[in-house]
């Protein structure tokens, strides 16, 4: 019986030791559920500078943990999304944004696809119009042409 008690105590102790090892970030307590929602969605939109293909929530690198915690703290301090994004980009550059900002450097990125789409429409329209024009002109054949054609056909016989 004593052995059972001991093993239960040990088990419970082990269980708690696991909890202690969890990173402080992941046990972070938000002031309100709405803060938590905002912070996590914001951290999802920021890229981890070290692992590059993961966002701050998914990544377990120490830098991502630090930055995640920083985002959480700033949200709880009542900072706006723009302020937090500004904090991150002033340190890690525009690279950390998954959604690039609209500025002269990124015009090509934002406007490029629409410009190409319009360009494609214009080319398509020109081609279709030209084809229609050609199709119409096919039917109209001058009397002179018709005569020439008849002669050519006759000669071949």
């Amino acid at each position: 019986m004593k052995l059972v008690n001991l093993s239960i105590t040990l088990f419970v102790a082990l269980l708690f030791s696991l909890m202690v090892q969890a990173t402080p970030v992941d046990t972070y307590e938000f002031k309100s559920p709405s803060n938590q929602k905002r912070a996590i969605s914001l951290a999802h939109e920021l890229r981890c500078p070290q692992c590059q293909n993961q966002n701050l929530v998914d990544s377990n690198s120490p830098v991502a943990q630090d930055l995640r915690l920083e985002v959480y703290k700033m949200v709880d301090e009542g900072k706006s999304d723009d302020e937090i994004v500004e904090f991150m980009t002033s340190r890690y550059g525009d690279f950390v944004l998954y959604k690039p900002r609209l500025d002269p450097k990124t015009y090509v990125l934002w406007i490029g696809p629409f410009a190409l789409l319009i360009f494609g429409f214009i080319i398509g329209a020109v081609l279709i119009r030209r084809q229609r024009h050609n199709a119409n002109s096919d039917i109209e054949m001058s009397a002179e042409d018709q005569q020439q054609l008849d002669e050519l056909l006759k000669r071949n016989k």
């Binding site: 500078p49 070290q50 590059q52 630090d66 920083e70 340190r91 890690y92 550059g93 525009d94």
Partner: protein, 184 residues
């Protein structure tokens, strides 16, 4: 003229191809520092060797210097350490260390064993200064001019080649600038 128009798609394709081909040789791990052109962020940290002695960004200003982020848990830092020690003996510029997210005792022990290239070593235990500097991995080295403005960031270990080809020319140029400033 009409035939030339037919070549437009090919030309576009080739331009795109050149762009994408260049992309193959870019290093995605190499990020431009957002801090270049900005002053060293404000901080208040203890000196590594003497707990309680507070240092601020003012202590690092005045001359062209290297700011090296290092830690005992970082293997690449161990790789560049002998080179930094050698560099410090040449007395070209002060090398300031930021001991990043480390244990003080371990760091002091390491410096005692391997040699200490640092003029001043800051103890950045919770990585606050590292965060403000946009550090995403150690080692990282910043070149700071005589006004305390960060002019260049190199991420990764320094060796003879990188020093000779990239960092030293920049340090020399900044030292010339500092001299011109001082003379004026």
């Amino acid at each position: 003229m009409k035939k030339l128009v037919l070549f437009i798609p090919l030309a576009l394709f080739m331009v795109m191809g050149i762009f994408l081909y260049q992309g193959l040789f870019l290093n995605p791990q190499k990020l431009d520092s957002a801090l270049e052109g900005k002053p060293i962020p404000a901080f208040q940290l203890e000196r590594l060797e003497t707990p309680g002695e507070m240092l601020t960004e003012a202590d690092l200003k005045g001359q062209v210097s290297l700011l090296n982020v290092w830690a005992t848990w970082c293997p690449a830092c161990k790789y560049e350490h002998p080179f930094l020690t050698m560099l410090s003996r040449r007395n070209i510029m002060p090398i300031y260390g930021i001991n990043y997210r480390d244990e003080r005792a371990l760091a002091i022990k390491e410096l005692r064993r391997e040699g200490d290239p640092y003029t001043i070593n800051l103890y950045d235990k919770d990585g606050r200064l590292g965060l403000d500097l946009g550090v995403y991995g150690a080692p990282e080295t910043f070149i700071v001019d005589h006004n305390g403005i960060i002019r260049f960031r190199y991420a990764g270990p320094i060796d003879q080649n990188i020093w000779k080809e990239t960092l030293y020319p920049m340090v020399q140029q900044l030292q010339a600038e500092a001299k011109a400033d001082g003379a004026a």
